[in-house]
């Protein structure tokens, strides 16, 4: 062709400009959440329920059954509590984690790579941050629902030992938020379903060893440091402190840990979505 016979447009050199902040966020996270809630109508509820019942079964078998042999256990603040009351808050944290991780790995992976959902969303005026926040919120919501159900069971079994147990609900939201945002960031790097199996592979030992079923003091100091570096331990300690009423200043550290985790997760997820779909 032929540029010759067109009126010459301005040929300003265009260096690769970074999209501006407004290009990231349209303030329309609600539309993403609305979509997610509509879509859950067609969700396989068996999968949803299995995630809820897993910690309940642990509580029944270990807390009630095994707990009869154990008697009481000492918490990190030196309080003696029945074994079931010791593991129940840990399982509460785990149920929040399970819900958030399941949604932000399996479900997000499918939407990223198979249903091309985010690709479609980002051809509209939605920004990547709208999508990231909306999807993280949905994962958080699932985590919160698991946790709420579990709290009801704890209450029924008399395992909430103090009024501060009420604060365990916001704490559990924080935990779910942390796992959901980081989970989604990690999922955005995954290419195959096998890689997601690795998440399960990491989650299982974290679940078993994060002072969930016994005090962390059983470990040598070096191992304790490793456990304390992992997110679940902070969640377990935070929730346990609240449901047993043993408050300590360490709780601020636990909360801080999750705030950092959330920030990292949201920033990473947003950047990844932009890199994947607005390249």
């Amino acid at each position: 062709m032929s540029a010759a016979n067109l009126p010459a447009p301005a040929t300003t050199a265009a260096p690769a400009l970074q999209p501006r902040r407004s290009a990231l966020y349209a303030g329309n996270t609600g539309a993403v959440i609305h979509r997610g809630l509509l879509a859950t109508r067609s969700t396989n509820y068996l999968v949803v329920l299995s995630g809820f019942f897993e910690p309940v079964f642990y509580l029944l078998s270990l807390g009630i059954g095994f707990g009869a042999l154990v008697g009481t256990v000492q918490t990190s603040t030196g309080q003696e509590v029945p074994y079931a009351a010791f593991i129940a808050p840990a399982l509460l944290a785990v149920s929040a984690m399970n819900g958030a991780v399941y949604d932000s790995t399996w479900n997000v992976f499918f939407k990223l790579n198979y249903s091309k959902l985010y690709q479609g969303m980002l051809t509209t005026s939605l920004g990547p941050l709208d999508v990231a926040l909306g999807e993280i919120f949905l994962a958080l919501l699932r985590g919160a629902m698991y946790a709420l159900g579990f709290m009801v069971i704890m209450q029924a079994f008399g395992l909430n030992l103090a009024w501060t147990a009420l604060l365990a609900l916001p704490a559990v939201l924080l935990i779910a938020f942390g796992f959901a945002s980081l989970g989604m960031a990690i999922t955005s790097y995954m290419k195959t379903f096998q890689q997601i199996e690795w998440v399960t592979f990491i989650m299982l030992p974290m679940f078993l060893f994060s002072a969930t079923f016994y005090p962390i003091t059983v470990y040598p100091e070096a191992i304790q440091w490793i456990i304390q570096a992992l997110p679940l331990w902070h969640g377990v300690e935070l929730v346990r402190g609240l449901t047993t009423g043993a408050l300590s200043s360490m709780m601020l550290v636990h909360v801080g840990y999750y705030l950092v985790m959330i920030a990292i997760g949201v920033v990473f997820t947003t950047n990844r979505l932009r890199a994947l779909f607005l390249k």
Partner: protein
């Protein structure tokens, strides 16, 4: 000429050491139906992604509705309707919900979206399927739903990437009819295709692209006039005899094109050319006289067929 809605100048996209789009220039006027015709891998989809403000150009200038997509991605996207090459309908939502939810992505009020969704279902001839699952729709229905979805924000420009690829002939004709109506209503259409008949049906003007470059530009009729003859005679002698026959046919028509399976004779009068061939004592197994098409233009410009 009114202010163009799309202006691309030396538009370039490089992935690593592969140049997908290599310095192309074009303009699209409001209400125009503009096509990018080329084989797979010509850079059509990459160009569409840049125009759709979901891909950042490597160099050159690009203006969509007077805005630079580098700075105003969401603003531009709010004015575009996008029909991607592969349907990306929301499988977890039902037909009508697909439209409602998509409209909400643009921040449109619920009531507005609901009203438009019903009108668009009518337009897409899907009103009786509005409660259906997306998976249960045929290929043609999915495409029509995708187009309806792309119209929910009343876009100023509709981008269609290979809109009828993979559809059966009947579904294609229904789709063309729908697109033609949009064109009549004044919607600006930008479409890519590797089907010459589609380009001829839908495009006021098109560019022929190959290997990331623009080879020619004009209306389908003008391109045929410029790069081909009025008629084409296709003769087949059998694959081992074509080359030999072609040698003897030198001088018949304006120009010969020898393909592996047939010889194309470009001529103002195909019947006369056929007469000349048989007069030489050559007896083709089959012969066909047809009008020139964009396929011939492409062959002339690149030496290759559009669909390989």
């Amino acid at each position: 000429m009114p202010q163009p809605v799309i202006t691309a100048s030396q538009l370039t996209k490089v992935y690593g050491d592969f140049t997908a789009v290599d310095g192309i220039d074009f303009e699209v006027a409001p209400g125009e139906s503009f096509g990018l015709l080329g084989p797979n891998g010509a850079g059509k989809s990459t160009t569409m992604r840049m125009v759709g403000a979901v891909s950042t150009r490597t160099s050159g200038a690009l203006s969509i509705l007077g805005l630079d997509p580098n700075d105003h991605g969401p603003d531009i996207r709010s004015q575009l309707g996008v029909v991607p090459q592969q349907d990306n309908l929301d499988q977890e939502l039902r037909v009508r919900d697909n439209l409602l939810v998509y409209g909400r992505y643009f921040g449109l009020p619920r009531a507005v979206v609901a009203e438009r969704a019903d009108a668009l279902l009518e337009f897409a001839q899907l009103t009786d399927r509005k409660k259906a699952k997306v998976d249960d729709l045929s290929g043609g229905m999915k495409r029509r739903l995708t187009i309806a979805r792309a119209l929910i924000n009343e876009p100023r420009i509709l981008l269609l990437d290979e809109p009828t690829t993979g559809l059966d002939p009947q579904a294609r004709h229904i789709l063309w009819d729908r697109l033609f109506r949009l064109k009549e209503q004044g919607t600006t259409l930008v479409l890519t295709t590797h089907y010459m008949d589609e380009a001829e049906q839908l495009c006021d003007r098109l560019v022929v692209v190959d290997k990331g470059r623009i080879m020619a530009e004009g209306s389908p009729a003008a391109l045929i006039r410029e790069y081909s003859s009025k008629e084409v005679l296709e003769v087949r002698f059998g694959s081992d005899k074509n080359a030999e026959a072609a040698e003897r046919m030198a001088g018949v028509g304006d120009r010969l094109e020898v393909l592996p399976d047939r010889i194309l004779v470009y001529s103002e009068n195909g019947e006369a050319a056929l007469e000349a061939v048989t007069h030489m004592g050559l007896e083709p197994i089959t012969s066909l006289v047809r009008r020139s098409s964009l396929e011939d233009v492409f062959l002339r410009l690149t030496g290759r067929s559009l669909i390989e």
